[in-house]
């Protein structure tokens, strides 16, 4: 008898847990929505995608009275495609996906179209161009960042040749096209003699990037521009530099190196607006991408946008750097894109006092 009660208790608890964990809300409310959209982010582990999903959910509900079902892609091809399949099975009206691989995007588009469900891809352009696509203009912004970094370095140290090191995600080709390669193009546009010394995998992680950067700087102490293909890696590079007694700037004048990142999250901007830190540039777009996704999905559902034609919506990936962006602008960017509620100026001051 005691055992039976215990078993019942456990079963009830187990059944209640998912509900407690945030599930089961849709029952009473789903019928009130006009549309159901699906969204597959690259991975929920990045602040960028968490913010993008939240923006999408809020914007779609407000503007189009649409509910958004989010299934994480977990940065994994099988999981991403399974998520697409599940969204199809759940009969969503349209979906949006953001992956790290063009082949994966193409496969997803094929799946969705076979089921006659509109789909929009983001960032990574599928090779089969048969569906609308949201393209943050990362290439241009990366080029701009590279050029600006090179200019600032040349202005401060005209005698020291530019040596660039990069941290990437381990050979994803689109990253070269839009981020690392473009950045280096920018550098070269200012100093044609600049050299790309090394490019290693930072695994998108701060800690791993820090370890790798320590090794990079050991092998190539002459490196003076470091680009991390996302903010996490740039922050790791900064931590490594600080550990070696570098990573400093003299009120915005480069001393040892310039670090650039990507995504423009709050953690990065706090460093960027610290005049003494060498992490100085980044760019990003969250809100506009999410809004474009919702707009495109709505457009496809209502017939305003053709479902099976390539249609690119370009979104500015806003460059933010210490020299050309005002603190107020950056504050506003964070508020709009990352649900930031603090004061950037205060956060920068707090971080500086360390």
């Amino acid at each position: 008898m005691k055992k039976l009660v215990l078993v019942l208790l456990i079963v009830t608890l187990a059944a209640a847990l998912p509900v407690f964990a945030g599930g089961g809300r849709e029952r009473e409310s789903e019928r009130d929505y006009d549309f159901v959209f699906g969204k597959v982010p690259y991975t929920f582990e990045h602040a960028y995608h968490q913010s993008a999903c939240r923006t999408l959910e809020e914007y779609a509900a407000r503007e189009y009275n649409a509910k958004v079902i989010i299934i994480d892609g977990e940065a994994n091809a099988e999981v991403t495609l399974a998520a697409i399949e599940n969204l199809i099975a759940q009969g969503v009206d349209a979906m949006a996906m953001h992956t790290g691989d063009a082949g994966l995007s193409a496969a997803a588009v094929r799946l969705a179209h076979a089921a006659n469900i509109p789909i929009v891809t983001t960032l990574i352009r599928p090779d089969i161009q048969t569906a609308p696509h949201i393209q943050p203009m990362e290439t241009a912004s990366s080029q701009y960042m590279g050029a600006e970094a090179a200019r600032q370095w040349k202005a401060a140290h005209p005698d020291k040749p530019i040596r660039v090191a990069m941290l990437n995600f381990g050979g994803i080709p689109q990253i070269w096209e839009m981020r690392t390669g473009a950045f280096f193009d920018g550098v070269k546009s200012v100093d044609p003699n600049a050299q790309l010394v090394t490019m290693l995998n930072g695994y998108g992680s701060t800690v791993r990037s820090m370890e790798v950067t320590l090794d990079i700087l050991q092998a190539n102490p002459e490196v003076n521009i470091i680009f991390g293909a996302n903010d996490e890696m740039a922050l790791g590079a900064l931590a490594a530099c600080e550990q070696l007694g570098r990573g400093k700037m003299n009120d915005g004048v480069p001393v040892s190196e310039i670090i650039a990142g990507l995504d423009a999250s709050s953690a990065a901007l706090v460093k960027i607006f610290d005049p003494d830190s060498s992490f100085k540039l980044t760019h990003g777009a969250v809100r506009d991408v999410a809004r474009a996704e919702a707009d495109t999905m709505y457009g496809m559902v209502t017939g305003a946008i053709p479902v099976k034609e390539y249609f690119e919506t370009q979104v500015l990936s806003q460059p933010i750097d210490f020299w050309n962006t005002s603190l107020a602008e950056a504050q506003r960017f964070l508020e709009l894109n990352f649900f930031y509620t603090g004061s950037l100026a205060a956060d920068v001051d707090a971080a500086r006092s360390r």
Partner: protein, 338 residues
């Protein structure tokens, strides 16, 4: 109905596998009640589709675990075969001047690669007496590195030949080829498990290695064979994955080895070997898939799902260990009485 059949049915109903099956049913009922997005034919098709690779490789892994071995390299093996298969089909072997190959030939070569990885595992474990965990962990790294290096980390997505996706996507009389293949493999492995010399020898090796050895079973050869078999199945899974998604990706199968491990464990094959059923593994794979799918349908954040995964894993193993000790005690009591 003959008495032996009755006995078999009775045995099945009282087995942990059947209870696991009941849990599986209960999960389905729960999710169907909790969300209206779950109980749909298409959703079930997806659930099965998404667990096919685990089911295919799980067949080999179950046999391996029966012999007290395990294979952590299956995920990397899947990725390597996936990418090489696509590479051969799209580019051939450029530096030897070999043109793109017919799919069947590419598939054959890739199966051999899968078998080779199994062979290396087997050699390290049987000849050099490596711990299976260590040997296959080394192969996990090597396989993944080779997969990424083959294509310099890029996926292959252009120049995919016609018919590349047919085996993974097309249907025969409305039934996906994928299901037919899985059904075929699972049924043959169930037969292997119950009726074949191999299945029996696998159980014998896991339950009492010395007895198996002194009964004249070539233990090393059986284990080697099972590793090769698992390698071949992983290779097949690599081909099917490539075909299903119609592109080659060196990053597939990350964490796949642990998913397979969990499915096999949930299915009631202990790490210490000596027993296990293919049917249990299939239920294990389906439970994992249904759980993920159902929680997604309920809109549960992924991180909570991770927590549930841990709780379920621990819960299931406690459940199995309870069942085991109770079942054994009952039989022993019966044995002493009779």
């Amino acid at each position: 109905m003959s008495t032996s059949m009755k006995k078999n049915i009775k045995q099945f109903i009282t087995s942990p596998t059947f209870l696991l099956f009941l849990i599986f049913i209960a999960l389905n009922v729960y999710f169907s009640l909790a969300t209206n997005r779950f109980f749909r034919v298409n959703n079930y098709v997806n659930i099965i589709k998404q667990s096919t690779m685990i089911m295919i490789v799980g067949c080999g892994a179950t046999f391996l675990m029966m012999t007290e071995s395990l294979d952590l390299s299956v995920g990397s093996n899947l990725a390597l075969t996936n990418i090489v298969y696509t590479f051969l089909a799209v580019f051939g072997i450029p530096f030897l001047g070999i043109a793109p190959m017919p799919l069947l030939l590419a598939g054959g070569i890739v199966i051999l690669i899968g078998a080779a990885i199994g062979l290396i595992n087997g050699i390290l474990i049987t000849r050099f007496k490596f711990e299976p965990f260590i040997a296959t962990l080394a192969l996990l790294y090597i396989g993944r590195g080779l997969a990424l290096a083959t294509v310099d980390g890029q996926s292959i997505r252009t120049g995919i030949p016609d018919g590349f996706g047919s085996i993974g996507n097309d249907e025969l009389f409305g039934i996906p080829y994928l299901f037919i293949i899985v059904f075929f493999i699972v049924v043959s492995f169930m037969l292997l498990e119950r009726k074949s010399v191999l299945g029996k020898h696998a159980v014998a090796i896991g339950a009492n290695r010395n007895a198996a050895f002194f009964s004249g079973i070539n233990v090393d050869r059986v284990i080697m064979g099972l590793y090769i078999m698992t390698g071949v199945l992983a290779g097949l899974a690599g081909i099917l994955t490539a075909s299903r998604f119609q592109f080659g990706d060196p990053r597939t199968g990350v964490g796949f080895e642990f998913n397979v491990l969990i499915a096999v464990l949930l299915g009631g094959t202990p790490l210490s070997g000596g027993k296990g059923t293919i049917f249990g593994t299939m239920i294990g794979a389906l439970i994992v898939a249904v759980l993920g799918n159902g929680l997604n349908a309920m809109d549960v954040v992924r991180f909570w799902q991770t927590v549930f995964q841990g709780i379920i894993l621990i819960g299931a193993i406690i459940f199995h260990s309870q069942m085991k000790s109770r079942g054994r005690a009952k039989l022993l009591a019966a044995g002493t009485r009779g």
